[in-house]
């Protein structure tokens, strides 16, 4: 059920994408987020989908598995799609019934925006799927190093991000355990009326919050007793090395961005 969830989960592997420098991967994802918005008609979107599928292929991620893991966000996608279908006007009217009117423009925009969202989700999920949280943190810290000059605590921020990422799966597992325990006590949050379903969430959230707070406190104590003081004079066990392939990856992304910009209409 919840364990299918892929957000924030890392799956070790040995593809080219896995081996890329995490800094290159983060910069690529940021670039892709911009590039996605270059596409403005079907040729652009087509190229975009193909390019992303290509990346998934190179990263050796099972396509079915990837989309299955993102199913949990389906609701948001459908909601966005419907919003555009019903509220965007223009083009020819395809369907009219009472106050409901669907225009061709709305349908097209709906599809485009949904594709855009899915691509954004997929791109960011590929990043977390192929990069371990430790690598991610190191990269964020290194990339943010210039910000330290203006007194932004990059190390602490990176630490916080990595701890949060690290605990998403733990919390998911914990939620599943509590759901099981309460459902063994006859709690029925999967069936019944909306009101009783919402009520049935209380016995799940309270234990979850309690254990999350406990965990956070234990973690803080454990860090303190081991003398964690934030950044002060810290050296790195893992050195990040920039290879030729990392430069190549960035060039590919930029080239794709240029291509997508050129096919704009």
């Amino acid at each position: 059920m919840l364990s299918n969830m892929l957000l924030g989960r890392y799956i070790p592997g040995d593809s080219v994408i896995h081996r890329l420098d995490p800094r290159a991967k983060i910069v690529s994802v940021l670039l892709m987020m911009v590039i996605i918005f270059f596409a403005n008609h079907w040729v652009g979107y087509g190229l975009l989908v193909l390019f992303v599928l290509g990346i998934i292929r190179v990263a050796q991620i099972n396509l079915f598995f990837l989309f299955n893991g993102l199913k949990i966000l389906l609701f948001i996608l459908i909601f966005t799609f419907l919003l555009h279908i019903f509220f965007t006007r223009g083009g020819t009217t395809l369907f009219e019934w009472g106050f409901i009117q669907i225009d061709s423009e709305g349908l097209i925009t709906g599809i485009y925006i949904t594709v855009r969202l899915v691509m954004l989700l997929v791109i960011t999920t590929i990043l977390t799927l192929t990069t371990s949280p430790i690598e991610l943190t190191d990269a964020i810290e290194k990339l943010g190093a210039p910000l330290k000059k203006i007194k932004i605590p990059m190390h602490e921020l990176a630490m916080m991000i990595s701890i949060s990422l690290r605990f998403i799966p733990t919390l998911m597992d914990e939620t599943e355990k509590i759901i099981k325990a309460q459902s063994a006590r006859g709690s029925t949050f999967m069936t019944g009326r909306l009101k009783s379903r919402i009520n049935a969430l209380i016995p799940i959230f309270i234990p979850l919050f309690i254990s999350a707070f406990k965990r956070a406190e234990e973690m803080a104590v454990a860090m303190e007793v081991r003398g964690y003081t934030g950044e002060a004079g810290r050296t790195s066990y893992r050195e990040l090395n920039w290879h030729l392939r990392d430069t190549a990856a960035l060039i590919v992304i930029i080239a794709f961005g240029v291509l997508l910009f050129l096919v704009r209409m």
Binding site: N4, F65, K180, A181, A184, R185, S187, M190, P207
Partner: protein, 287 residues
């Protein structure tokens, strides 16, 4: 209530890279009123098995028959809900499932879900809290003010108040102090005898198994390796060592004594019985 497991195969994350077969063509049965122990090293499929017995997991293949209710690959929620009325489950660290403002309300949660009225649920809660030795003045207190051992008792009362005919307990003593450990284990034995319910205990503690269980099911790699009477399985040192399980202290002691020429009649199951056996032996052999 009899439980029959027939050809149960359980696969986690079917059709994904994480696919994992936890149980493979598993067949066994649990007779009413008996005390069972399910043993095996970590990853042997114990937890998966017990979750199938009350419908938390559904079989990928095969069936689980609970009384006249059948659990299959696509059993309806309504049937599963029925099964949960009959088969109670105390998870590892059950104190993590406490949530309500007062102890009494928390224990009433299960009975209320089973469709009892407020009064009936309250009566049940009071009955089982008293059985566990929780004083009445504590009923209105928050369960979060209690110590770990006490919290666990409240959580157990929450399951008992549902009056299941089969009670599954998963590592009920993990993290408890020795005194609470004995109290909790004695409690399960007592309710098995007093209310004639089936207990299915999952544990790594072979001393507990040896002292309390009537029958043992030994699992390894998702398969049933052996099942039978506790005194037959837990005295088989080779079998236990082969499956990375501890030999119960009493068994080890009795076997050591045998090598020194002190041979008891029958195998004592707990410390008191051991002392009695030893006295009898002394009476016969002492000059």
């Amino acid at each position: 209530m009899k439980i029959t497991v027939d050809g149960l195969t359980s696969i986690y994350h079917n059709n994904t890279p994480f696919e994992h077969t936890a149980l493979n063509n598993f067949t066994t049965s649990f007779e009413p009123g008996k005390y069972y122990a399910v043993i095996g090293r970590t990853g042997s499929g114990k937890s998966t098995l017990i979750q199938h017995l009350n419908g938390l997991l559904l079989p990928t293949r095969g069936i689980v028959q609970v009384g006249d209710l059948t659990l299959k690959h696509r059993t309806k929620q309504r049937i599963i809900h029925q099964v949960k009325k009959h088969v109670g489950m105390v998870f590892q660290f059950p104190e993590h499932q406490l949530f309500d403002e007062t102890i009494l309300k928390d224990v009433m949660f299960g009975p209320l879900n089973m469709g009892l009225t407020e009064e009936e649920a309250e009566a049940r809660a009071e009955k089982y809290l008293s059985l566990l030795g929780v004083p009445e003045r504590a009923f209105g207190r928050s369960p979060f003010d209690l110590s770990g051992g006490q919290m666990r008792k409240i959580a157990i009362a929450g399951i008992l108040a549902m009056e299941p005919e089969v009670l599954i307990v998963d590592e009920p003593t993990a993290g408890l102090d020795p005194k609470s450990h004995i109290e909790v284990m004695d409690l399960f034995k007592q309710i098995q005898e007093d209310f004639n319910i089936t207990i299915i205990l999952v544990t790594h503690d072979m001393n507990d198994v040896f002292e309390y269980a009537d029958e043992v099911k030994l699992l390894a790699g998702g398969q049933l390796i052996r099942e039978g009477r506790t005194e037959d399985i837990l005295t088989d040192e080779k079998l236990l060592t082969d499956h990375h399980l501890e030999i119960p202290d009493i068994v080890r002691l009795v076997h050591d004594l045998e090598r020194k020429g002190v041979v008891f009649e029958g195998m004592p199951r707990n410390t008191d019985a051991f002392i009695t056996s030893y006295r009898e032996w002394r009476a016969l052999h002492a000059q």
